[in-house]
């Protein structure tokens, strides 16, 4: 039995089901990260002296990571546009670049975390590092999740292009929406934790 409305739009919502599903999921993600931003405000306002991000964190590395994520976002949307233009080879190219930027982000994060641990800075050291590791750690988990799904659609999942190209294009659009959301969260994490 075929699952209905995964290509055609439902008459009542005007959307295919997967798209509405990912937006509901992203709404729940807003509340997940929103809770942590709320905790950050609570912790920061609860003390007289909140450390500057530059006291603990590496701004140039984080700036490079921001550029990596922004670049991966544009290559992600380009990969979807390539499918819309019926150019599968370009889709593969842009998806590969997206994955490389995502791995680059993780490598830099690894160096950042390693530097903290080598200085004996842990989540338990103080509230600033506690919220820093919690928020960036959760964000890193989202990056890893994104890599797994994008990687699947780059590799074995891309076979669907031959059998059902419209549905495959929709799948790439859905994972793209998730990936842009992960980028969007970082756009706020970067100034809040590193610069303010």
């Amino acid at each position: 039995m075929d699952i209905p409305f995964n290509v055609k739009e439902r008459p009542d919502t005007g959307l295919y089901n997967g798209k509405l599903g990912i937006w509901f999921f992203l709404a729940s993600e807003v509340m997940l990260f929103g809770g942590l931003f709320s905790a950050y405000i609570f912790l920061r306002n609860g003390v007289d002296n909140w450390p500057a991000g530059t006291d603990y964190l590496d701004v140039p590395l984080a700036t490079l990571n921001t550029l990596f994520l922004i670049s991966s976002s544009v290559t992600m949307v380009m990969s979807w546009a390539s499918l819309k233009l019926n150019d599968f080879n370009k889709y593969k190219f842009y998806t590969l670049i997206t994955l490389l930027f995502a791995f680059g982000f993780l490598v830099i994060k690894y160096f950042e975390y390693s530097a903290k641990f080598s200085h004996h800075y842990y989540p338990s050291t103080n509230n600033f590092l506690g919220i820093y590791f919690t928020m960036t750690g959760l964000h890193v988990l989202h990056i890893i999740g994104g890599i797994l799904v994008i990687g699947y659609f780059y590799g074995p999942g891309s076979k669907m292009w031959n059998s059902d190209p419209e549905r495959f294009t929709n799948r790439v659009e859905i994972v793209g929406l998730y990936w842009h959301f992960v980028d969007l969260v970082w756009i706020f994490l970067f100034p809040v934790l590193y610069l303010l």
């Binding site: 550029l67 976002s73 233009l85 610069l195």
Partner: protein, 98 residues
Amino acid sequence: MTPEEVKHHVKTYVLVFVALAFLTIVTVAISYIDLGVKGGIALGLFVASIKASLVACYFMHLLDEKATIYWTLIATAISFLILIFLPVGAFLAQARVY
């Protein structure tokens, strides 16, 4: 979306990318300017909001979406604002007590 429309969108994506990269540099640059804690936070979050809007409007195509998604996002935004302003309300209540 027709292929012509997609081609037009691709040009927009590149422009948005350039704007995002530029605004990232601006975000870092303003952190070096002494605006005080409140001024720094306000300006930093203002620039971050512009960047987030660009991603949402162009990469996530929110400029041209169905009403169902807009209603979902309005409900999310209201819930998010309540969540964010809970600690602010708590601090204001605390300030009145002391």
